[in-house]
Protein backbone atom coordinates (compact mmCIF):
# COMPACT_ATOMS: atom_id res chain seq x y z
CA UNK A 1 0.00 0.00 0.00
CA UNK A 2 2.40 2.70 -1.16
CA UNK A 3 -0.27 5.37 -1.22
CA UNK A 4 -0.99 4.68 2.39
CA UNK A 5 2.66 4.96 3.32
CA UNK A 6 2.80 8.31 1.65
CA UNK A 7 -0.28 9.33 3.52
CA UNK A 8 1.32 8.41 6.78
CA UNK A 9 4.54 10.20 5.88
CA UNK A 10 2.94 13.38 4.68
CA UNK A 11 -0.22 13.43 6.69
CA UNK A 12 1.14 12.24 10.00
CA UNK A 13 1.44 15.03 12.49
CA UNK A 14 0.75 18.01 10.34
CA UNK A 15 -1.92 19.40 12.59
CA UNK A 16 -2.84 18.78 16.17
CA UNK A 17 -6.44 19.68 16.94
CA UNK A 18 -7.65 20.70 20.37
CA UNK A 19 -9.46 17.98 22.29
CA UNK A 20 -13.21 18.27 22.41
CA UNK A 21 -14.34 20.23 25.46
CA UNK A 22 -17.04 18.08 27.08
CA UNK A 23 -18.76 21.22 28.38
CA UNK A 24 -19.29 22.55 24.88
CA UNK A 25 -18.98 19.75 22.34
CA UNK A 26 -19.08 21.89 19.21
CA UNK A 27 -17.14 22.10 15.97
CA UNK A 28 -14.01 24.14 16.53
CA UNK A 29 -13.83 25.76 13.09
CA UNK A 30 -15.82 26.10 9.84
CA UNK A 31 -14.32 23.04 8.21
CA UNK A 32 -15.32 20.97 11.19
CA UNK A 33 -18.84 22.37 11.01
CA UNK A 34 -18.99 20.89 7.54
CA UNK A 35 -17.74 17.58 8.87
CA UNK A 36 -20.47 17.58 11.48
CA UNK A 37 -23.12 18.44 8.92
CA UNK A 38 -22.07 15.51 6.75
CA UNK A 39 -21.94 13.29 9.80
CA UNK A 40 -25.47 14.25 10.79
CA UNK A 41 -26.79 13.29 7.36
CA UNK A 42 -24.82 10.10 7.51
CA UNK A 43 -26.12 9.33 11.00
CA UNK A 44 -29.71 9.82 9.93
CA UNK A 45 -29.23 7.54 6.93
CA UNK A 46 -27.86 4.84 9.21
CA UNK A 47 -30.50 5.43 11.87
CA UNK A 48 -33.35 4.75 9.45
CA UNK A 49 -31.51 2.08 7.46
CA UNK A 50 -32.28 -1.59 7.58
CA UNK A 51 -28.94 -2.27 9.19
CA UNK A 52 -29.67 -0.71 12.55
CA UNK A 53 -30.54 -3.44 15.03
CA UNK A 54 -34.18 -2.87 15.90
CA UNK A 55 -33.85 -3.40 19.64
CA UNK A 56 -33.99 -0.58 22.14
CA UNK A 57 -32.63 -2.70 25.00
CA UNK A 58 -29.45 -3.62 23.14
CA UNK A 59 -28.99 -0.05 22.00
CA UNK A 60 -29.29 1.35 25.49
CA UNK A 61 -26.90 -1.29 26.80
CA UNK A 62 -24.27 -0.20 24.27
CA UNK A 63 -24.98 3.40 25.16
CA UNK A 64 -24.34 2.61 28.84
CA UNK A 65 -21.02 0.96 28.11
CA UNK A 66 -20.11 3.80 25.75
CA UNK A 67 -20.95 6.31 28.46
CA UNK A 68 -18.90 4.52 31.03
CA UNK A 69 -15.73 4.79 28.93
CA UNK A 70 -16.62 8.23 27.56
CA UNK A 71 -16.90 9.77 31.02
CA UNK A 72 -17.72 13.47 30.70
CA UNK A 73 -18.21 13.07 26.93
CA UNK A 74 -21.14 10.70 27.48
CA UNK A 75 -23.88 13.15 26.41
CA UNK A 76 -22.22 13.66 23.01
CA UNK A 77 -21.76 9.98 22.22
CA UNK A 78 -24.49 7.99 20.46
CA UNK A 79 -23.91 4.28 19.95
CA UNK A 80 -25.85 2.28 17.35
CA UNK A 81 -25.73 -1.50 16.96
CA UNK A 82 -25.34 -2.25 13.25
CA UNK A 83 -26.14 -5.53 11.53
CA UNK A 84 -22.91 -6.54 9.81
CA UNK A 85 -21.06 -9.83 10.17
CA UNK A 86 -17.50 -8.77 10.81
CA UNK A 87 -15.39 -7.29 13.59
CA UNK A 88 -15.74 -3.54 13.28
CA UNK A 89 -16.74 -0.33 14.94
CA UNK A 90 -16.50 3.24 13.72
CA UNK A 91 -16.78 6.77 15.00
CA UNK A 92 -17.99 9.87 13.20
CA UNK A 93 -16.66 13.33 13.99
CA UNK A 94 -19.94 14.31 15.68
CA UNK A 95 -19.90 11.49 18.22
CA UNK A 96 -22.04 8.99 16.33
CA UNK A 97 -20.64 5.50 16.76
CA UNK A 98 -21.46 2.25 14.97
CA UNK A 99 -20.80 -1.10 16.59
CA UNK A 100 -21.13 -4.09 14.30
CA UNK A 101 -22.92 -7.24 15.36
CA UNK A 102 -19.85 -9.26 14.30
CA UNK A 103 -17.88 -7.42 16.97
CA UNK A 104 -20.47 -8.14 19.65
CA UNK A 105 -20.52 -11.79 18.64
CA UNK A 106 -16.75 -12.06 19.02
CA UNK A 107 -16.44 -10.18 22.31
CA UNK A 108 -16.61 -12.36 25.41
CA UNK A 109 -17.43 -9.77 28.01
CA UNK A 110 -18.16 -6.12 28.59
CA UNK A 111 -14.50 -5.22 29.16
CA UNK A 112 -13.60 -6.45 25.66
CA UNK A 113 -16.48 -4.48 24.18
CA UNK A 114 -15.44 -1.43 26.22
CA UNK A 115 -11.90 -1.72 24.88
CA UNK A 116 -13.14 -1.03 21.38
CA UNK A 117 -15.66 1.61 22.43
CA UNK A 118 -12.94 3.42 24.39
CA UNK A 119 -10.70 3.35 21.35
CA UNK A 120 -13.47 4.88 19.21
CA UNK A 121 -14.34 7.52 21.79
CA UNK A 122 -10.70 8.62 21.71
CA UNK A 123 -10.95 9.23 17.95
CA UNK A 124 -13.84 11.56 18.71
CA UNK A 125 -12.32 13.35 21.69
CA UNK A 126 -9.03 13.95 19.91
CA UNK A 127 -10.80 15.16 16.74
CA UNK A 128 -8.87 12.71 14.58
CA UNK A 129 -11.19 13.16 11.58
CA UNK A 130 -10.53 16.87 11.54
CA UNK A 131 -6.81 16.24 11.83
CA UNK A 132 -6.90 13.88 8.88
CA UNK A 133 -8.91 16.25 6.77
CA UNK A 134 -6.68 19.16 7.67
CA UNK A 135 -3.55 17.14 6.96
CA UNK A 136 -4.93 16.12 3.60
CA UNK A 137 -6.00 19.63 2.74
CA UNK A 138 -2.60 21.06 3.70
CA UNK A 139 -0.54 18.60 1.76
CA UNK A 140 -2.86 19.29 -1.18
CA UNK A 141 -1.60 16.13 -2.72
CA UNK A 142 -3.56 14.41 -5.41
CA UNK A 143 -2.34 11.03 -4.33
CA UNK A 144 -3.68 11.66 -0.90
CA UNK A 145 -6.98 12.68 -2.31
CA UNK A 146 -7.02 9.50 -4.32
CA UNK A 147 -6.34 7.50 -1.21
CA UNK A 148 -9.29 9.20 0.41
CA UNK A 149 -11.39 8.56 -2.64
CA UNK A 150 -12.46 12.12 -2.61
CA UNK A 151 -12.17 13.35 -6.16
CA UNK A 152 -15.21 15.47 -6.66
CA UNK A 153 -14.73 15.89 -10.36
CA UNK A 154 -13.39 12.48 -11.15
CA UNK A 155 -15.97 9.97 -10.06
CA UNK A 156 -15.13 6.74 -11.70
CA UNK A 157 -18.11 5.05 -13.15
CA UNK A 158 -18.68 1.47 -14.04
CA UNK A 159 -21.44 0.02 -16.03
CA UNK A 160 -23.77 -1.83 -13.79
CA UNK A 161 -27.00 -2.93 -15.29
CA UNK A 162 -29.54 -0.47 -16.50
CA UNK A 163 -27.63 2.70 -15.77
CA UNK A 164 -24.08 3.73 -15.49
CA UNK A 165 -23.75 4.03 -11.77
CA UNK A 166 -21.24 6.59 -10.70
CA UNK A 167 -19.36 5.84 -7.56
CA UNK A 168 -19.35 9.37 -6.42
CA UNK A 169 -22.24 10.12 -4.14
CA UNK A 170 -21.01 13.16 -2.34
CA UNK A 171 -22.45 12.52 1.09
CA UNK A 172 -21.37 8.96 1.43
CA UNK A 173 -18.06 9.51 -0.25
CA UNK A 174 -17.18 12.38 1.95
CA UNK A 175 -18.39 10.69 5.07
CA UNK A 176 -16.74 7.42 4.12
CA UNK A 177 -13.57 9.15 3.00
CA UNK A 178 -13.13 11.18 6.13
CA UNK A 179 -13.79 8.15 8.23
CA UNK A 180 -11.75 5.71 6.28
CA UNK A 181 -8.20 6.35 7.13
CA UNK A 182 -6.97 7.33 10.49
CA UNK A 183 -3.21 7.32 10.58
CA UNK A 184 -1.08 4.89 12.50
CA UNK A 185 -0.42 7.66 15.02
CA UNK A 186 -4.14 8.12 15.50
CA UNK A 187 -4.64 4.41 16.00
CA UNK A 188 -1.85 4.24 18.55
CA UNK A 189 -3.16 7.28 20.35
CA UNK A 190 -6.62 5.69 20.42
CA UNK A 191 -5.21 2.38 21.63
CA UNK A 192 -3.59 4.18 24.55
CA UNK A 193 -6.50 6.54 25.17
CA UNK A 194 -8.98 3.67 25.02
CA UNK A 195 -6.87 1.63 27.39
CA UNK A 196 -6.65 4.49 29.91
CA UNK A 197 -10.41 4.92 29.82
CA UNK A 198 -10.91 1.18 30.22
CA UNK A 199 -8.83 1.13 33.39
CA UNK A 200 -10.30 4.38 34.72
CA UNK A 201 -13.77 2.93 34.25
CA UNK A 202 -12.90 -0.03 36.43
CA UNK A 203 -12.66 -2.73 33.77
CA UNK A 204 -10.16 -5.58 33.80
CA UNK A 205 -7.16 -4.27 31.90
CA UNK A 206 -6.05 -7.68 30.66
CA UNK A 207 -9.15 -7.90 28.45
CA UNK A 208 -7.79 -5.24 26.09
CA UNK A 209 -5.09 -7.48 24.68
CA UNK A 210 -7.52 -10.44 24.57
CA UNK A 211 -9.47 -8.70 21.81
CA UNK A 212 -6.29 -8.58 19.74
CA UNK A 213 -5.27 -12.11 20.58
CA UNK A 214 -8.59 -13.55 19.40
CA UNK A 215 -8.46 -11.70 16.13
CA UNK A 216 -4.93 -12.78 15.43
CA UNK A 217 -5.98 -16.37 16.11
CA UNK A 218 -8.95 -16.09 13.75
CA UNK A 219 -6.74 -14.62 11.08
CA UNK A 220 -3.95 -17.15 11.41
CA UNK A 221 -6.16 -20.23 11.67
CA UNK A 222 -8.13 -19.26 8.59
CA UNK A 223 -5.17 -17.98 6.62
CA UNK A 224 -6.92 -14.71 5.90
CA UNK A 225 -5.35 -12.76 3.10
CA UNK A 226 -6.70 -9.58 4.51
CA UNK A 227 -7.34 -8.82 8.15
CA UNK A 228 -10.77 -8.31 9.63
CA UNK A 229 -12.43 -5.11 8.54
CA UNK A 230 -11.45 -3.09 11.57
CA UNK A 231 -7.78 -3.57 10.93
CA UNK A 232 -7.47 -3.24 7.19
CA UNK A 233 -5.15 -0.27 7.49
CA UNK A 234 -3.67 -1.08 10.85
CA UNK A 235 -3.35 -4.82 11.39
CA UNK A 236 -3.69 -6.37 14.84
CA UNK A 237 0.00 -7.11 15.12
CA UNK A 238 1.52 -9.12 17.93
CA UNK A 239 3.42 -5.98 18.80
CA UNK A 240 0.24 -4.03 19.36
CA UNK A 241 -1.16 -6.85 21.45
CA UNK A 242 2.01 -7.08 23.53
CA UNK A 243 2.01 -3.34 24.16
CA UNK A 244 -1.45 -3.65 25.67
CA UNK A 245 -0.37 -6.71 27.64
CA UNK A 246 2.53 -4.78 29.15
CA UNK A 247 0.32 -1.84 30.02
CA UNK A 248 -2.07 -4.22 31.76
CA UNK A 249 0.69 -5.59 34.01
CA UNK A 250 0.81 -2.48 36.12
CA UNK A 251 -2.91 -1.76 36.07
CA UNK A 252 -5.25 -2.19 39.04
CA UNK A 253 -7.67 -5.13 39.04
CA UNK A 254 -11.06 -4.55 37.46
CA UNK A 255 -14.24 -6.33 36.42
CA UNK A 256 -14.95 -8.10 33.14
CA UNK A 257 -18.71 -7.44 33.24
CA UNK A 258 -19.34 -10.82 31.66
CA UNK A 259 -22.77 -11.39 33.22
CA UNK A 260 -24.16 -8.06 32.04
CA UNK A 261 -22.67 -8.56 28.60
CA UNK A 262 -24.23 -12.00 28.20
CA UNK A 263 -27.62 -10.82 29.45
CA UNK A 264 -27.65 -8.11 26.81
CA UNK A 265 -26.26 -10.07 23.89
CA UNK A 266 -27.28 -13.73 24.26
CA UNK A 267 -30.85 -13.15 23.04
CA UNK A 268 -29.35 -11.91 19.75
CA UNK A 269 -26.47 -14.32 19.37
CA UNK A 270 -28.18 -16.94 17.21
CA UNK A 271 -29.20 -14.30 14.68
CA UNK A 272 -25.68 -12.93 14.53
CA UNK A 273 -24.19 -16.37 13.96
CA UNK A 274 -26.72 -16.97 11.20
CA UNK A 275 -25.52 -13.78 9.47
CA UNK A 276 -21.93 -14.97 9.69
CA UNK A 277 -22.92 -18.36 8.27
CA UNK A 278 -24.64 -16.65 5.34
CA UNK A 279 -21.27 -15.20 4.40
CA UNK A 280 -19.97 -18.78 4.20
CA UNK A 281 -16.63 -17.96 5.76
CA UNK A 282 -16.97 -21.20 7.60
CA UNK A 283 -13.46 -21.39 8.98
CA UNK A 284 -13.86 -18.09 10.77
CA UNK A 285 -17.28 -19.02 12.14
CA UNK A 286 -15.85 -22.30 13.41
CA UNK A 287 -12.98 -20.56 15.21
CA UNK A 288 -15.40 -18.14 16.86
CA UNK A 289 -17.86 -20.88 17.87
CA UNK A 290 -15.16 -23.04 19.38
CA UNK A 291 -13.78 -20.15 21.38
CA UNK A 292 -17.24 -19.19 22.64
CA UNK A 293 -17.80 -22.80 23.66
CA UNK A 294 -14.86 -22.45 26.05
CA UNK A 295 -16.70 -19.53 27.61
CA UNK A 296 -19.63 -21.75 28.40
CA UNK A 297 -22.81 -19.75 27.78
CA UNK A 298 -25.62 -21.66 26.01
CA UNK A 299 -23.41 -24.43 24.63
CA UNK A 300 -26.39 -26.12 22.94
CA UNK A 301 -26.79 -23.17 20.62
CA UNK A 302 -23.08 -23.21 19.75
CA UNK A 303 -22.98 -26.96 19.08
CA UNK A 304 -26.02 -26.58 16.84
CA UNK A 305 -24.26 -23.93 14.77
CA UNK A 306 -21.07 -25.99 14.65
CA UNK A 307 -23.24 -28.67 13.09
CA UNK A 308 -24.37 -26.09 10.56
CA UNK A 309 -20.74 -25.24 9.78
CA UNK A 310 -20.00 -28.91 9.02
CA UNK A 311 -23.20 -29.36 7.02
CA UNK A 312 -22.38 -26.36 4.85
CA UNK A 313 -18.68 -27.17 4.55
CA UNK A 314 -19.54 -30.67 3.33
CA UNK A 315 -16.00 -32.01 3.20
CA UNK A 316 -15.03 -35.64 3.64
CA UNK A 317 -16.36 -36.82 7.00
CA UNK A 318 -18.37 -33.66 7.68
CA UNK A 319 -21.68 -35.56 7.56
CA UNK A 320 -20.63 -37.46 10.63
CA UNK A 321 -19.25 -34.39 12.37
CA UNK A 322 -22.48 -32.50 11.72
CA UNK A 323 -24.52 -35.36 13.14
CA UNK A 324 -22.32 -35.50 16.22
CA UNK A 325 -22.53 -31.73 16.76
CA UNK A 326 -26.32 -31.68 16.37
CA UNK A 327 -26.77 -34.53 18.77
CA UNK A 328 -24.41 -32.95 21.27
CA UNK A 329 -26.49 -29.79 20.94
CA UNK A 330 -29.72 -31.58 21.78
CA UNK A 331 -28.41 -32.69 25.16
CA UNK A 332 -26.67 -29.41 26.03
CA UNK A 333 -28.17 -26.33 27.64
CA UNK A 334 -29.58 -23.56 25.50
CA UNK A 335 -30.15 -25.51 22.28
CA UNK A 336 -32.83 -24.07 19.99
CA UNK A 337 -35.59 -26.47 18.87
CA UNK A 338 -34.00 -26.33 15.40
CA UNK A 339 -31.13 -28.44 16.73
CA UNK A 340 -33.57 -31.35 16.90
CA UNK A 341 -34.86 -30.58 13.43
CA UNK A 342 -31.40 -30.46 11.90
CA UNK A 343 -30.47 -33.65 13.70
CA UNK A 344 -33.60 -35.25 12.26
CA UNK A 345 -32.86 -34.00 8.75
CA UNK A 346 -29.25 -35.18 8.94
CA UNK A 347 -30.40 -38.62 10.10
CA UNK A 348 -32.97 -38.69 7.32
CA UNK A 349 -30.27 -37.96 4.75
CA UNK A 350 -28.18 -40.74 6.30
CA UNK A 351 -31.11 -43.14 5.90
CA UNK A 352 -31.53 -43.68 9.64
CA UNK A 353 -35.32 -43.49 9.46
CA UNK A 354 -36.42 -44.38 12.97
CA UNK A 355 -33.95 -42.04 14.64
CA UNK A 356 -34.83 -39.32 12.13
CA UNK A 357 -38.52 -39.64 13.02
CA UNK A 358 -37.76 -39.40 16.71
CA UNK A 359 -35.67 -36.26 16.28
CA UNK A 360 -38.21 -34.55 14.03
CA UNK A 361 -40.95 -35.42 16.50
CA UNK A 362 -38.80 -33.93 19.26
CA UNK A 363 -38.56 -30.75 17.19
CA UNK A 364 -42.34 -30.53 16.88
CA UNK A 365 -42.75 -31.20 20.59
CA UNK A 366 -40.36 -28.44 21.54
CA UNK A 367 -41.29 -25.84 18.96
CA UNK A 368 -45.05 -26.11 19.38
CA UNK A 369 -46.40 -25.31 15.95
CA UNK A 370 -43.31 -24.13 14.08
CA UNK A 371 -43.61 -22.28 10.78
CA UNK A 372 -42.46 -25.37 8.88
CA UNK A 373 -44.72 -27.85 10.73
CA UNK A 374 -46.49 -28.94 7.54
CA UNK A 375 -43.20 -29.91 5.92
CA UNK A 376 -42.04 -31.78 9.02
CA UNK A 377 -45.33 -33.71 9.13
CA UNK A 378 -44.79 -34.66 5.49
CA UNK A 379 -41.30 -35.98 6.33
CA UNK A 380 -42.73 -37.94 9.25
CA UNK A 381 -45.33 -39.52 6.97
CA UNK A 382 -42.66 -40.45 4.46
CA UNK A 383 -40.41 -41.93 7.17
CA UNK A 384 -43.12 -44.26 8.49
Amino acid sequence: MPALMLLVLLGGCAFDAQRVDPKSPQPSQPMEEGLWEISRKFEEAIAISGRRVDDAALESYLQEVGCRVAGPHCPSIRVYPIIAPDFNASMSPNGFMQVWTGLMLRAENEAQLATVLGHEVTHYVERHSLERLEATRRTANLLLAAQFGLFAGGYSAISSGPVRVSLGDVTSLVAGGYLAAYSREHEDESDRGGFDQLVKSGYAAAEASAVWRHLIAEQETCDLQRPAALFASHPPTKERMETLEKLANGAPAGETGKERFLAATLPHRAGWIRQELAQRRLCRVKVVLERLLEQGANPGELHYFLGEVYRLRNEEGDDGKALAAYSQATVAAGAPPEAHRELGLALRRAGRRAEASAALQAYLDRAGTPQDAVMIQAYLEELK
Binding site: G50, P162, V374
Partner: protein, 200 residues
Amino acid sequence: MNACARLVCLLTLTVLLAGCAMSGRGIDPGESREIFDQYRVQSQASWSRTGWRNVEIWTVDGPLLQQLRFYRALEDGQTLFERPIQAVLVSPNVDKYRPKYRVGMDPHEVAELVSATMMQFGAVSAESTELRPAQFGGRPGFRFRLQFISQGGLVYAGLVLGHFNAEGHLHLVLYLGARDHYFPKLADEVEHIFASLSWK
Protein backbone atom coordinates in the same frame (compact mmCIF):
# COMPACT_ATOMS: atom_id res chain seq x y z
CA MET B 1 -12.82 3.87 1.82
CA ASN B 2 -10.64 2.79 -1.03
CA ALA B 3 -11.50 1.97 -4.60
CA CYS B 4 -12.02 -1.66 -3.76
CA ALA B 5 -14.48 -0.85 -1.05
CA ARG B 6 -16.40 1.32 -3.41
CA LEU B 7 -16.53 -1.40 -6.00
CA VAL B 8 -17.72 -3.81 -3.38
CA CYS B 9 -20.41 -1.32 -2.57
CA LEU B 10 -21.91 -1.93 -5.93
CA LEU B 11 -22.40 -5.59 -5.29
CA THR B 12 -25.54 -4.78 -3.52
CA LEU B 13 -28.97 -6.06 -3.35
CA THR B 14 -29.88 -3.08 -5.46
CA VAL B 15 -27.71 -4.17 -8.30
CA LEU B 16 -28.81 -7.71 -7.88
CA LEU B 17 -32.48 -6.87 -7.88
CA ALA B 18 -32.15 -4.24 -10.56
CA GLY B 19 -30.65 -6.91 -12.73
CA CYS B 20 -29.74 -6.04 -16.25
CA ALA B 21 -31.79 -3.60 -18.19
CA MET B 22 -35.22 -4.92 -18.91
CA SER B 23 -35.32 -5.00 -22.65
CA GLY B 24 -38.15 -4.21 -24.99
CA ARG B 25 -39.70 -7.66 -24.75
CA GLY B 26 -42.93 -8.27 -22.95
CA ILE B 27 -45.48 -10.88 -21.99
CA ASP B 28 -49.07 -10.24 -23.03
CA PRO B 29 -52.11 -11.12 -20.95
CA GLY B 30 -53.10 -14.70 -21.61
CA GLU B 31 -49.79 -15.52 -23.26
CA SER B 32 -48.37 -18.95 -22.66
CA ARG B 33 -44.61 -18.87 -22.44
CA GLU B 34 -42.02 -21.60 -22.48
CA ILE B 35 -39.30 -21.33 -19.84
CA PHE B 36 -35.91 -22.71 -20.90
CA ASP B 37 -37.33 -25.59 -22.84
CA GLN B 38 -38.50 -26.98 -19.50
CA TYR B 39 -42.09 -26.03 -18.86
CA ARG B 40 -44.78 -23.54 -19.84
CA VAL B 41 -46.56 -20.93 -17.77
CA GLN B 42 -49.48 -18.67 -18.54
CA SER B 43 -49.88 -15.08 -17.41
CA GLN B 44 -53.03 -13.03 -16.97
CA ALA B 45 -51.32 -9.64 -16.77
CA SER B 46 -48.79 -7.83 -18.95
CA TRP B 47 -45.16 -8.18 -17.88
CA SER B 48 -41.81 -6.83 -18.97
CA ARG B 49 -39.24 -9.53 -19.42
CA THR B 50 -35.51 -10.02 -19.55
CA GLY B 51 -33.14 -12.89 -19.00
CA TRP B 52 -29.70 -14.29 -18.69
CA ARG B 53 -28.13 -17.61 -19.38
CA ASN B 54 -29.86 -19.39 -16.52
CA VAL B 55 -32.65 -17.13 -15.37
CA GLU B 56 -35.63 -15.34 -16.87
CA ILE B 57 -36.92 -12.28 -15.03
CA TRP B 58 -40.35 -10.70 -15.29
CA THR B 59 -41.54 -7.44 -13.77
CA VAL B 60 -44.37 -4.96 -14.12
CA ASP B 61 -43.23 -1.89 -12.19
CA GLY B 62 -39.47 -2.42 -12.20
CA PRO B 63 -37.27 -5.12 -10.72
CA LEU B 64 -36.58 -3.18 -7.51
CA LEU B 65 -40.31 -3.07 -6.82
CA GLN B 66 -41.27 -6.58 -7.83
CA GLN B 67 -39.83 -9.38 -9.92
CA LEU B 68 -40.52 -12.97 -10.80
CA ARG B 69 -37.46 -15.14 -11.51
CA PHE B 70 -37.62 -18.47 -13.33
CA TYR B 71 -34.45 -20.53 -13.10
CA ARG B 72 -33.08 -23.06 -15.52
CA ALA B 73 -32.65 -26.22 -13.44
CA LEU B 74 -29.74 -25.58 -11.07
CA GLU B 75 -26.98 -28.15 -11.17
CA ASP B 76 -24.47 -29.16 -8.55
CA GLY B 77 -22.28 -26.22 -7.51
CA GLN B 78 -24.37 -23.54 -9.19
CA THR B 79 -25.40 -20.30 -7.53
CA LEU B 80 -28.67 -18.42 -7.50
CA PHE B 81 -27.37 -15.12 -8.73
CA GLU B 82 -24.96 -14.36 -11.49
CA ARG B 83 -21.75 -13.07 -10.08
CA PRO B 84 -21.22 -9.48 -11.09
CA ILE B 85 -17.94 -9.21 -12.92
CA GLN B 86 -16.82 -6.47 -10.55
CA ALA B 87 -16.88 -8.95 -7.71
CA VAL B 88 -14.16 -10.94 -9.34
CA LEU B 89 -12.04 -7.88 -9.82
CA VAL B 90 -12.37 -7.01 -6.18
CA SER B 91 -11.71 -10.44 -4.81
CA PRO B 92 -10.72 -13.48 -6.82
CA ASN B 93 -11.87 -15.50 -3.86
CA VAL B 94 -15.42 -14.38 -4.12
CA ASP B 95 -16.69 -17.59 -5.68
CA LYS B 96 -15.33 -19.67 -2.89
CA TYR B 97 -17.72 -18.08 -0.44
CA ARG B 98 -20.92 -17.99 -2.43
CA PRO B 99 -23.84 -20.17 -1.36
CA LYS B 100 -24.10 -22.99 -3.87
CA TYR B 101 -26.73 -25.56 -4.68
CA ARG B 102 -25.67 -29.13 -4.03
CA VAL B 103 -27.43 -32.17 -5.44
CA GLY B 104 -28.95 -34.02 -2.50
CA MET B 105 -30.04 -30.95 -0.59
CA ASP B 106 -33.44 -31.15 1.08
CA PRO B 107 -36.04 -28.36 0.93
CA HIS B 108 -34.89 -26.93 4.28
CA GLU B 109 -31.40 -26.58 2.89
CA VAL B 110 -32.76 -24.88 -0.23
CA ALA B 111 -34.67 -22.42 1.96
CA GLU B 112 -31.45 -21.61 3.82
CA LEU B 113 -29.57 -21.34 0.52
CA VAL B 114 -32.02 -18.73 -0.74
CA SER B 115 -31.98 -16.59 2.40
CA ALA B 116 -28.19 -16.84 2.76
CA THR B 117 -27.79 -15.73 -0.86
CA MET B 118 -30.02 -12.73 -0.25
CA MET B 119 -27.99 -11.82 2.82
CA GLN B 120 -24.69 -12.10 0.98
CA PHE B 121 -25.99 -9.66 -1.55
CA GLY B 122 -26.92 -7.14 1.11
CA ALA B 123 -30.38 -8.10 2.35
CA VAL B 124 -30.70 -7.67 6.08
CA SER B 125 -32.23 -10.41 8.22
CA ALA B 126 -33.43 -12.56 5.34
CA GLU B 127 -35.64 -15.35 6.61
CA SER B 128 -37.42 -18.26 4.97
CA THR B 129 -40.64 -19.39 6.59
CA GLU B 130 -43.72 -21.54 6.07
CA LEU B 131 -41.92 -24.24 4.18
CA ARG B 132 -44.39 -26.87 2.97
CA PRO B 133 -44.92 -29.41 0.22
CA ALA B 134 -46.43 -28.03 -2.99
CA GLN B 135 -47.11 -29.11 -6.54
CA PHE B 136 -44.72 -27.96 -9.26
CA GLY B 137 -46.55 -28.57 -12.51
CA GLY B 138 -48.23 -31.62 -11.02
CA ARG B 139 -44.98 -33.03 -9.66
CA PRO B 140 -44.02 -33.04 -5.99
CA GLY B 141 -42.19 -29.93 -4.91
CA PHE B 142 -42.17 -27.40 -2.10
CA ARG B 143 -42.77 -23.76 -1.44
CA PHE B 144 -41.85 -21.22 1.20
CA ARG B 145 -42.11 -17.55 2.01
CA LEU B 146 -39.25 -15.14 2.24
CA GLN B 147 -38.88 -11.88 4.11
CA PHE B 148 -35.97 -9.49 4.18
CA ILE B 149 -35.11 -5.83 4.61
CA SER B 150 -33.08 -3.79 2.18
CA GLN B 151 -30.08 -1.77 3.30
CA GLY B 152 -32.31 1.28 3.11
CA GLY B 153 -34.87 -0.32 5.39
CA LEU B 154 -37.54 -1.26 2.84
CA VAL B 155 -39.29 -4.49 3.78
CA TYR B 156 -39.58 -7.10 1.04
CA ALA B 157 -41.70 -10.22 0.81
CA GLY B 158 -41.03 -13.24 -1.30
CA LEU B 159 -42.60 -16.50 -2.41
CA VAL B 160 -40.55 -19.43 -3.67
CA LEU B 161 -41.61 -22.58 -5.50
CA GLY B 162 -39.16 -25.44 -5.97
CA HIS B 163 -38.83 -28.97 -7.35
CA PHE B 164 -35.97 -31.49 -7.63
CA ASN B 165 -35.97 -33.26 -10.99
CA ALA B 166 -34.91 -36.86 -11.68
CA GLU B 167 -31.22 -35.85 -11.95
CA GLY B 168 -31.43 -34.07 -8.62
CA HIS B 169 -31.30 -30.63 -10.27
CA LEU B 170 -33.30 -27.84 -8.68
CA HIS B 171 -36.12 -26.01 -10.47
CA LEU B 172 -36.84 -22.74 -8.72
CA VAL B 173 -39.27 -19.87 -9.22
CA LEU B 174 -38.83 -16.80 -7.01
CA TYR B 175 -41.28 -13.95 -6.60
CA LEU B 176 -39.93 -10.92 -4.70
CA GLY B 177 -41.38 -7.49 -4.08
CA ALA B 178 -41.77 -4.55 -1.73
CA ARG B 179 -44.12 -5.72 1.00
CA ASP B 180 -46.07 -2.48 0.71
CA HIS B 181 -48.14 -2.32 -2.46
CA TYR B 182 -45.87 -3.97 -5.03
CA PHE B 183 -45.66 -7.56 -3.74
CA PRO B 184 -49.38 -7.83 -3.01
CA LYS B 185 -50.24 -6.13 -6.30
CA LEU B 186 -49.29 -9.25 -8.28
CA ALA B 187 -49.52 -11.95 -5.60
CA ASP B 188 -52.72 -13.43 -7.08
CA GLU B 189 -51.30 -13.25 -10.59
CA VAL B 190 -48.22 -15.13 -9.43
CA GLU B 191 -50.32 -17.81 -7.75
CA HIS B 192 -52.15 -18.17 -11.04
CA ILE B 193 -48.85 -18.49 -12.90
CA PHE B 194 -47.65 -21.13 -10.42
CA ALA B 195 -50.87 -23.05 -10.93
CA SER B 196 -50.60 -22.77 -14.71
CA LEU B 197 -47.17 -24.40 -14.79
CA SER B 198 -47.14 -27.43 -17.09
CA TRP B 199 -44.19 -29.61 -18.13
CA LYS B 200 -43.17 -29.98 -21.72
